[in-house]
Amino acid sequence: MSFSVELHDEFVVVRLPATLSLANAAAVRNQLERHIQDVSAELIVDLSGVEFIDSSGLAALLSVCRAARAWGGDIVLAGPLPRVQALIELTRLDDVVDVVADIAEASARLSARREAA
């Protein structure tokens, strides 16, 4: 499992694969949590390329969010497609994890959080 990782402003942006499901949710979760532990606990998770997600994928994102907060950071989910956004809203994942339209907004959200801390 490999991700595209880049920097936007000073934040790491991880671009997830097109599918986040039972088949790869554990691997994605493990890799992102390792990244949080080893590199940065502030993470922008780019969902714009995710075309398919299920409840296992949502649970993986929630687990990554918890890990980031445990290390003093946070994650922001950026750019979900309408189909993914619908599932996020149905399950109220957006009550506990920030979900924004794009990477620029995610970066602004993390910057504001850092300044408030």
Partner: protein, 149 residues
């Protein structure tokens, strides 16, 4: 009535394949859009439940049938497991680690029926995906069997 069958191995990739199969089957008969996507998301959860709860690490098959009539699409997901002990559906807390699958099915399908028996366990999901029968162009009683994995 349009009717298709899918026999799929109980492997983690099966849910996504089942979703593509449902959307492909609906598309061939002129059904697409958010309602079909919601139905396919529910089918994924039913298939995932079969993989995780009916078989675990044991090899097995999940059978799906898809039928469409008068704009209503019905998908039956069958496995050889005993089914859930508790059929009560509670809204999961947003930060709950598990328990979203059945909730998603209940919210996005018009009907969710669970059947237990000597055959195993079935989840029957139905959803209105088109306004009327005119939007379904399938041949009466046509059928097709697909085997994956």
């Amino acid at each position: 009535m349009f009717h298709e069958l899918l026999l799929i191995g109980a492997v983690p990739e099966a849910g996504h394949e089942a979703a593509r199969w449902v959307e492909g089957g609906c598309s061939r008969f002129g059904l697409r859009g958010p309602a079909v996507e919601q139905l396919s998301a529910c089918v994924v959860e039913a298939v995932n439940n079969a993989i995780e709860h009916a078989y675990g690490t044991i090899a097995g098959d999940v059978q799906l049938t898809l039928s469409a009539e008068a704009g209503v699409v019905t998908v039956v997901v069958s496995d050889r497991g005993p089914g859930p002990r508790d059929s009560e559906v509670l809204a999961p807390e947003p930060d709950a680690p598990r328990g979203r699958g059945r909730w998603i099915m209940d919210q996005w399908c018009d009907s969710v029926e669970l059947q237990k028996g000597a055959f195993g366990f079935r989840t029957i999901l139905s959803k209105q995906c088109a306004a009327n029968a005119a939007s379904i162009s399938g041949r009466p009683d046509s059928s097709q069997l697909t085997r994956l994995f």
